[in-house]
Amino acid sequence: MSKVIVVTSGKGGVGKTTSAAAISAGLAQQGHKTVVIDFDVGLRNLDMIMGCERRVVFDFINVIQGDAKLKQALIKDRRLDTLSILPTSQTRDKDALTSEGVEKVLEELREEFDYIVCDSPAGIERGAQLAMYYADEAVVVTNPEVSSVRDSDRVLGLLNSKTKRAEESGADPIKSHLLLTRYDAKRIGEGEMMNVEDVLEILAIPLLGVIPESTAVLRASNVGLPVVLDDKSRAGKAYEEAVARLTGEQIEMRIESEERPGLFQRLFGRTA
């Protein structure tokens, strides 16, 4: 049975695309046939994060409008042969994405892939609504920061009301998971940032993982590598564990900061 997973957040800039790239690459690394779809029509970015921006010929919208076959638009990842990317269009036409079109493409993808990861645009407009509408599970990406937590709460409300699973009687509701990103252990230690327990208490959904604030994330996006493939970084490791939990593995939650300060830094680092 294939699964459609939406990566969403409401707020922009919290790490949706980074997470969608990392999760899909992580699933593919485990051997699952995975496709990741960019739903951010007009602001294509997943292709850059995945490092395939120069190989885009046809896109999601071309497929929906019947101008290209799905097979033509899918880009096979060069590092993982179980991973494919479906880029979005740079068109400014907001109506390019239709509910029927999305459903048809997802149905076709379900026949071939184990996991279909939908990278939602920010906001709660059409693109975001369609990205979540057909989902079986949701990964809600949240920063430990007030506006992000508020928007995540709003999105959780939409996942429970404005989706196919919510509208169909008898269907199980969407399984939502919290992915806490840009987690800064140092600031949390100083009481300047909400910790995991604080956010969990407010949002009350199961925790998928905690991704530490990390220089590795920008480095990975600079070179077009999903950060999960950078297995030396703690952020990459944290994504790997989150992916394992997504597939049902029981892994203990370890929360680490990216930089482990040395003695010198611990003595003098505070003033820096």
């Binding site: 007030v146 508020r150 009481g191 300047e192 910790n195 407010i202």
Partner: protein, 93 residues
């Protein structure tokens, strides 16, 4: 009158403040559909019309404010009457 407090907060405990603010806000937002009650503009219009039957007041003479707190929400209505008098009314729920 507006109940703003400027209590000095412990520096370095801003995370706690963030959490409390969110808990209060979301308790309200989850109840309704939107973020703020959408009947307020309509209420403002109705009040204005009711007053206009008796006294001539300007459109922007009615000021409605809402304060939301953990336990108590209050609605405060200020109507500026011509001649410098002000009628105040407040309701709590």
């Amino acid at each position: 009158m507006f109940g703003f407090s400027f209590k000095p907060r412990n520096k370095g405990k801003s995370a706690q403040t963030a959490k409390e603010r969110l808990q209060i806000l979301l308790a309200h937002e989850r109840g309704g559909n939107g973020s703020s009650p959408d009947y307020l503009p309509m209420l403002q219009r109705d009040i204005l019309e009711a007053i206009k039957k008796h006294v001539h007041v300007e459109r922007d003479a009615v000021d409605i404010r809402m304060e939301r707190d953990d336990e108590l929400s209050s609605l405060e209505i200020n109507i500026e009457l011509p001649g410098g008098r002000t009628v105040q009314s407040s309701a709590s729920s």
